[in-house]
């Protein structure tokens, strides 16, 4: 009988000793490698000069002042949602309902624009829209949080289902607000008066979007790092029992945190309706509620890293539109490119967290 245990060829071990600089070196190498693989894809499959295609992406995303601002606007919205999902995820509350929370914020904003648009002065109207969107998104977050805190329901399913409910709410509202009748769309709200539209700030079309999102980002940073609430969230996330032992009212923390989370997603809805689209449809949220989760996780809940990642993702999206137009490529081609880059970026975290050890040659 052979009693020796067969040693596997490769074996993994956790590593915690990697220095900060080395970690970033790995990430940069991963991005460069992904670009090389993308270049290979572009060259072999679509038979084009990869450098030209990369140029097209850069050109499309930031090539002109306006393109830069469109990219910035979309990146800011995405960042806002990423900031919104952060506290809940940090608490290990799997809130995949940001999409619905955004939509409820949109509904609240659009409703205010339609019903109060011409009755209130602009400043007051905008403040009210802001507050109502926060409340609407917040309620959409508090519902599953309450059930979780009270009866320990599964928040993943609950928040996911509420997305569909929110879509139906939007569909329902469109029936009342549709313009013209039968078209199944709301059209631009208050186009002649621009009531309830975010005005320019510092001469920038999207100045308010920038100001609101940056302020929220800074506040969230402080909230998570420097306040008692932030600490409670971290403790509940690590272990509910520890939290309870430390005298934290877990239920209260869950409801409050997810309420804030949903509320900020609602504000993202406000920014979408008031600050860029000026209309509402079931696709207004456009999957941002899900993309933002990727952004938040990739950034390890560091709000500054989120800003960088949100910008990169939108950069790729906008670039994609350009290469689709310029080289007559289907947009799917650029999705493949984005996919390859994401694969490498996420994949490299594995090598940061684990060490590969190969089987050593045994000397008898």
């Amino acid at each position: 009988m052979d009693n020796t245990v067969k040693e596997p060829l490769i074996h993994l071990s956790k590593r915690e000793d990697m220095s900060f600089g080395k970690k970033w070196l790995v990430r940069i190498i991963a991005i460069l490698l992904s670009l090389i693989v993308c270049a290979g894809f572009i060259f072999i499959i679509i038979k084009m000069n990869p450098v030209e295609v990369y140029e097209g992406i850069v050109e499309g995303a930031v090539g002109t002042g306006r393109r830069f601002w469109v990219t910035a606007r979309d990146a800011l919205t995405l960042l806002c949602v990423a900031v919104a999902v952060t506290p809940a995820f940090k608490m290990k509350f799997w809130n995949i309902g940001a999409e619905g929370q955004i939509l409820m914020g949109c509904v609240a904003s659009a409703a205010m624009m339609i019903y109060a648009g011409n009755a209130l002065p602009t400043g007051l109207l905008l403040v009210l829209m802001f507050v109502c969107s926060f409340i609407a998104g917040g309620i959409w977050g508090i519902i599953p949080a309450f059930f979780k805190a009270r009866w320990n329901t599964n928040e993943t399913l609950f928040t996911l289902m509420l997305n569909y409910v929110a879509m139906q709410v939007v569909t329902f509202c469109i029936v009342y607000w549709e313009n013209p009748a039968g078209s199944n769309s709301v059209g631009i709200i208050n186009a002649p008066t621009r009531a309830g539209w975010l005005p320019q700030l510092f001469g920038l079309d999207y100045g308010w979007n920038l100001a609101i999102v940056l302020l929220l980002t800074v506040l969230m940073f402080i909230y998570m790092k420097r306040t008692k609430h932030g600490y409670e969230i971290a403790v509940v996330g690590e272990s509910e029992n520890t939290a309870r032992y430390a005298g934290i009212n877990v239920g209260k923390v869950i409801v409050r945190t997810v309420g804030i989370s949903g509320g900020i997603a609602g504000i993202a809805g406000f920014i979408l309706v008031s600050g860029s689209s000026h209309t509402i449809s079931t696709s207004t949220a456009g999957g941002r509620g899900f993309t933002a989760i990727i952004v938040a996780w990739l950034a390890k809940f560091n709000v500054w890293a989120m800003a960088v990642i949100a910008f990169l993702l939108v950069f790729m999206q906008q670039g994609a539109i350009q290469i689709a137009t310029q080289y007559n490529l289907n947009e799917n081609a650029s999705e493949v490119i984005t996919g390859i880059i994401l694969f490498f970026v996420i994949g490299c975290e594995f090598f940061i967290n684990y060490k590969l050890e190969f089987r050593k040659k045994h000397s008898a």
Binding site: I29, L32, I36, E55, E59, T64, G182, I188, S283
Partner: protein, 416 residues
């Protein structure tokens, strides 16, 4: 190993530096192309730049028809590929405004958008760029906007739908003659997108075409509430067939309905594209729009420096609408002659599709409805004169977009 890595890194970095450097050059190039002409000023054909905003891409029938029109326009006017910038898959949201503004900033003299929901964004862009001409298909707001650079266009698709209705009616007559269906049971099914004027006008003209040859026909309309969904359209057609419909037609953009019809061997009339490849044993013909004449006209106007009409709608007579090749395998005998006769009538103005003596709404003619003060009829009373409904009749001052919203007797429209 380390050396190799260092080498690769260095190589990649140089490559990316090159990429950054040359992309700046590209950006300057495109901004210098700016400088569009004011309306009324002629532009040399070699200097003109045309921007297009499309809801879909070549995989979707409606946009495919528009892309064909762009090609036709390019050929007619001798434009090169880089004079036309086409943005595909532009949704009906702020992305449409971004696209329109981007095209204007790239130096396009004219921007053409193809989807109904693009309109308000195009209006917004038209207000921001008064020197650029904006044309929007299927919209209705150009006239009321008061912007001289905003234009709507459509075609008199109801004329080709009427002709396709004649084809369907002939087929029904044949089926009645062969004893496949009884006269009182010949019901048509219609897969509609939305209960919206464009669709209602479309199915009414189709039905009137059928009625002109087969008087006993009735029609049932079901909606998918989507412009293009293969699954919903297929399912909708299947339900209609199960409901006893013996012929199917559609106003939705995919091949869903013909696919269902082919499986059940039910004759069908398509939309946008020839359905014979999809349903060789079921398709009769399709009603199609040829947008080519408009694209050529609009771009030609910019070249000549003449104003583009605020509302444009041409029909069968000008080649803007037609029916596709008749499927010899399926159509009834004498169809070709019947279609030719109807087409001749439409072209010389002796046949009006919406002839008010040919249909009733709740037992009353449109004229009687207006007299009785019916709310819907009163709203549209300008259209109702000279014995017919002046649909898309831009010559007598009507908008190009369809307006006919009456559900006439014989049609059962199921909105639930």
């Amino acid at each position: 190993m380390k050396k190799l890595l260092a080498f690769i890194l260095a190589a990649v970095m140089t490559a990316s530096l090159c990429a950054c450097g040359s992309s700046k050059g590209g950006a300057e190039g495109s901004t210098s192309a700016k400088g569009s002409s004011a309306a009324g000023e002629a532009v040399a054909a070699s200097d003109i730049k045309v921007g297009c905003i499309m809801i879909g891409d070549e995989n979707e029938g409606y946009t495919e028809a528009h892309l064909k029109a762009v090609e036709e326009m390019k050929k007619n006017l001798g434009l090169s590929d880089d004079q036309v910038v086409i943005k595909t898959n532009i949704k009906e949201d702020e992305g449409c405004y971004d696209a329109a503004v981007d095209l204007a900033e790239q130096g396009c003299n004219i921007v053409i958008a193809n989807s109904f929901g693009h309109e308000s964004y195009i209006l917004q862009a038209a207000a921001d760029y008064p020197d650029v001409q904006f044309c929007h298909a299927t919209g209705y707001q150009a006239k009321s906007s008061g912007l001289s650079n905003m234009h709507n266009f459509f075609t008199r698709i109801y004329e080709s739908r009427y002709l396709s209705g004649v084809v369907a009616g002939m087929k029904l007559n044949e089926m009645i003659k062969n004893g496949e269906v009884s006269k009182d049971k010949c019901k048509i099914g219609y897969v509609g997108a939305f209960p919206y004027a464009e669709v209602i006008s479309g199915f009414t003209s189709f039905y009137l075409g059928v009625k002109s040859v087969c008087d006993s026909a009735t029609m049932e309309v079901k909606y998918t509430n989507s412009w293009a969904s293969f699954d919903l359209e297929k399912e909708c057609a299947e339900q209609l067939i199960a409901d006893g419909c013996v012929l199917i037609s559609q106003h939705a953009d995919t091949t869903g309905a013909p696919t269902a019809c082919e499986a059940k061997k039910v004759p069908c009339v398509g939309y946008n594209i020839d359905m014979i490849p999809t349903a060789p044993d079921a398709a009769l013909t399709s009603a199609t729009i040829n947008w080519g004449p408009y694209y050529t006209y609009a771009v030609q106007s910019v070249i000549d420096g003449t104003a583009i009409e605020t509302d444009w709608a041409k029909g069968v007579k000008d080649g803007a609408d037609a029916i596709t090749e008749l499927n010899d395998k399926t159509v009834a005998e004498g169809t070709k002659e019947a279609v030719e006769e109807a087409q001749k009538g439409i072209e010389d103005g002796t046949l009006h599709v919406f002839d008010t003596s040919k249909f009733t709404v709740g037992g009353k003619t449109l004229e009687e409805l207006v007299e009785s003060g019916d709310k819907d009829a009163t709203k549209l009373k300008d259209y109702i004169k000279d014995g017919y409904f002046h649909e898309s009749d831009v010559e007598s001052g009507m908008p190009s977009a369809p307006a006919f919203t009456f559900i006439i007797d014989g049609i059962n429209s199921i909105t639930k």
